[in-house]
């Protein structure tokens, strides 16, 4: 990286060694192994690659993964905003405890979340036994996938919106009110425009996380081909059949989508920063 020479002079030592180690470690652990997927997928040739990633069972898994992830992120958008609002604006007993608990999905291993949610929503489970007579099946159906993805995406919107909401100056709302705006107008015309970048960032993060999720989903999904089988599970299935090239092709398709999402997230955050200033 010849461009590194263009850094500004500084009296602080250690640039060479720290940037050198950073780039080496990053390359060895992340970049070179990730590039292995792209190199491996070329083995199939373009035709083979395309046939693999557009096979009916694979396409069905995209539909489920994308649909459930999108719906889960949308539900988290609404309830995340609600939870952030309640935590920042209102005072009630246990508020700090609940605030800390919001991060549970970050801290709880996904396999634990998976079996716990299954215990709740299985036909004989805690809630499942009451839903079953109503004809509602959650566990072992696409709805179960949705429930797991809501769980793991829950903290993202709360945690992106919360700091923005905290920093909003009350003067803004007072000014709007004193100029004759109703509470509803203040919220939708004054508050919401400053919150949109954070809300969308949280949504995109929850969506991206849900797309790749594996541990919490496989227990509750039932994993029926064409019905409740998520894309990451298909990669594992192909690996277990020693179809390395096929597994890699699906992985590459997923990686490309993840990188696009990452780009969108970065753009959203850039938008948020510029809007804030």
């Amino acid at each position: 990286m010849a461009t590194l020479a263009l850094r500004r002079r500084s009296v602080i030592p250690g640039f060479g060694i720290t940037i050198g180690f950073t780039l080496l470690y990053l390359s060895l652990i992340i970049l070179i192994p990730l590039s292995a997927t792209f190199i491996k997928s070329t083995q199939l040739g373009w035709g083979g690659f395309w046939t693999t990633v557009t096979a009916p069972r694979v396409v069905a898994s995209y539909k489920l993964s994308f649909g459930a992830s999108f719906l889960a992120a949308a539900i988290n958008l609404v309830f995340g905003m609600l939870v952030a609002w309640v935590l920042v604006r209102y005072r009630f007993p246990g508020r700090r405890l609940i605030d800390a608990l919001v991060d549970l999905p970050f801290a709880l291993p996904t396999a634990v979340a998976g079996i716990a949610l299954t215990a709740i929503y299985a036909p004989n489970g805690w809630l499942g036994q009451y839903l079953e007579p109503l004809g509602i099946k959650v566990a072992f159906t696409p709805t179960g996938v949705l429930v797991a993805l809501i769980f793991i995406g829950l903290p993202f919107v709360v945690r992106t919106v919360q700091p923005v909401l905290q920093e909003l100056k009350p003067e803004l709302e007072e000014a709007a009110a004193s100029l004759g705006a109703s509470r509803r107008q203040t919220i939708f015309r004054v508050l919401m425009p400053s919150l949109w970048p954070a809300l969308l960032t949280g949504f995109a993060l929850a969506f991206a996380r849900a797309l790749g999720e594996y541990g919490s989903v496989i227990f509750i999904a039932g994993n029926m081909p064409m019905v409740s089988e998520i894309t990451p599970l298909l990669i594992i299935t192909k690996l277990e059949q020693y179809d390395y090239a096929g597994a890699t092709a699906i992985a590459v398709a997923m990686l490309v989508i993840s990188f696009l999402l990452l780009l969108i997230i970065n753009l959203l955050q850039w938008w948020g920063r510029h809007r804030h200033q």
Binding site: L101, P109, V112, G212, A251
Partner: protein
């Protein structure tokens, strides 16, 4: 602003209660209920059965492997996090934002793919497969693969917490120390480290929670050999699939306990960090996807 009762500056009391109620109901359904389910199911057949399940040799082996994997992955990523944050926060250079994006990359890669990439390199059909086979070195379906996959998924945690903290602090204090004749190491240990210790601890706590709880990535490279290559989360899966629910939930309850300890430690560090310095907005949970 929270105590105001003016109808133009706050919602009516009944509406506030409705919102609080709806928020709490959502969190109760999705957070409290699963947590309660783990603990209840684990104790379904009494404390005796619970303790027996935890003392199984394979369960103990799984706990040991989980500790080994986290014990290697967390220090590695700690060293990486500090060096990367030093280079990124203390110096100006081109390509910095690209470097930060690349460090965040593991957050946007599915854990399953994180496992797959090491299979492609070290597996039997992989780049080094032949060489490793001839020299009788096992990476995939063995402990090294589990450690590698854990390092990958926990890669960004420490760096991601430290970069904003160190950027916020700027370089003035270090420059002063160096001008007064301190060596680079002295400056780091005596000036930088005390300033970043809460951010560092925060990153380590999150990194450790993920390292001990990782499932997808480790599942791909583990081979699921009982007592040998099963981490605790993988052991939970095996027990569960064998319909040994009490044992599965008993092991899961250990991991749930780890999660609760993590949350408590995290809140404590946030609180101390805020008391120490104006660390507040930065120390909030990472904006990028984590655990």
């Amino acid at each position: 602003m929270n105590t105001t009762t003016s109808p133009t500056l706050n919602e009516p009391a009944w509406f506030r209660r409705l919102l609080i109620g709806a928020g709490l109901a959502f969190l109760g359904l999705f957070l409290a209920l699963p947590l309660a389910a783990v603990l209840t199911e684990a104790l379904r057949q009494g404390v005796g059965a619970y303790l027996v399940a935890l003392q199984e040799p394979v369960a103990l082996a799984a706990i040991k492997l989980t500790l080994i994997a986290a014990g290697i992955a967390v220090p590695l990523n700690l060293i990486f996090g500090v060096t990367a944050a030093w280079a990124i926060a203390k110096f100006e250079f081109r390509g910095k934002s690209l470097l930060i994006t690349l460090i965040d990359l593991p957050f946007s890669v599915s854990p399953v793919i994180a496992g797959l990439i090491y299979v492609l390199i070290f597996g039997a059909q992989g780049w080094f497969g032949q060489y490793l086979f001839e020299n009788d070195i096992k990476v995939i379906f063995a402990v090294p693969g589990i450690v590698l996959a854990t390092v990958f998924v926990t890669f960004p945690f420490v760096a991601r917490e430290l970069i904003p903290v160190m950027e916020e602090q700027g370089t003035a204090e270090e420059e002063a120390a160096l001008t007064l004749g301190a060596s680079g190491w002295q400056t780091f240990w005596r000036v930088t480290l005390p300033n970043i210790k809460w951010g560092l601890l925060y990153g380590v706590i999150l990194c450790n929670a993920r390292a001990m709880g990782e499932f997808g990535a480790v599942s791909v490279v583990s081979g699921h050999i009982r007592g040998e290559t099963n981490t605790l989360p993988l052991h939970v899966e095996i027990l569960y699939n064998e319909y040994n629910f009490v044992a599965a939930f008993a092991c899961a309850s250990l991991l749930a306990l780890l999660a609760l300890v993590t949350l408590a430690a995290k809140s404590f560090v946030e609180w101390r960090g805020q008391a120490q310095r104006a660390l507040a907005p930065i120390a909030l949970p990472a904006v990028q996807p984590s655990t």
